[in-house]
Amino acid sequence: TVGAVAVDASGHVAAATSTGGLTGKRWGRIGDSPVIGAGTYADDRACAVSATGTGEVFIRNAAAHEIAARMRLLGETAQQAVDAVMAEVGAMGGDGGVIFAAHDGSAGFAFNTPGMFRGRADASGLHETAIY
């Protein structure tokens, strides 16, 4: 699975996710990536999220929407919200990670696996990639 989230110069957020799914998937199995609110979500009032990992748990958790809702309703920062939702995903036996770009211009990630291919860039010149 691959994904991208962004905040543009006008302060609008957007998310995109794309995946081949799981090796050996059967019966037309679909994970969280194309399920809006599970693996992909964007709301200018909060953040944009793209997720990767155990799709079934991200769906049951409505993880991407939950992150945005926690920001809107509880006033959490994006990092607080993604950390809380990833803790819940882990507690439900799911693994993987999320990236976010928030309406305040922050961007980041949270994951509970040994690695996640990821990168970040912004108008100030930040430009980094990481795997572990």
């Binding site: 699975t1 081949g20 998937k25 996640m116």
Partner: protein
């Protein structure tokens, strides 16, 4: 406000030392290219939606990542791809699932958002919609890399059951 972009290429059990230095470098290069594509759109004043689409298309074309070219194989040995986009300005969204021949699935997801009254289309109908929208199509061979076929063969060898939460691939 200043623009920001974040990307991912999937999470998993990769641990330091698991990849050859060459493979690691290639993954970093792939992430760099995606960051560069999305950043160029944003630095030019473009929209967040155009930026995330541009970044994801670069990763879809890179066989190292599990999307588009380099997608993992289904039980039946096919490549069935899923994608979604969402615009935070209006909370309009588009998603597509079970796509088999659209070169860049993220573009099909965006077409669902912008050219249909729907949010999610899947399988045969999704393939037909993508063709009708004139999106670039690709033969199955484009998506099916040797490495993913090897992983599928390995998967088939393992008789531990049809679903293994410890699947190493995708």
């Amino acid at each position: 406000s200043p623009w920001t972009l974040a990307i991912h290429g999937g999470a998993g059990a990769m641990a330091p030392g698991m990849f050859t230095p060459e493979h690691e470098d290639a993954c970093h290069a792939g992430l760099e290219s995606a960051l560069a594509a999305g950043s160029a759109v944003l630095a030019d004043g473009g929209s967040a939606l155009d930026a995330v689409e541009a970044a994801v298309m670069v990763l879809e074309d890179n066989p190292l990542f599990n999307a588009g070219r380099g997608s993992v194989f289904t039980f039946e040995g096919r490549n069935e791809m899923d994608a979604a986009v969402m615009d935070g300005t209006t909370r309009s969204a588009g998603a597509i699932a079970g796509l088999t021949n659209t070169k860049n699935p993220v573009r099909a997801a965006r077409a669902v958002m912008e050219k249909s009254p729907h949010v999610l289309l899947s399988h045969e109908g999704a393939n037909r919609f993508s063709s009708e929208m004139g999106l670039e199509q690709a033969d199955s061979e484009w998506f099916a890399t040797a490495e993913r076929r090897r992983q599928w063969e390995e998967f088939k060898e393992r008789k531990t059951g049809w679903f293994d939460a410890d699947l190493k691939y995708g």
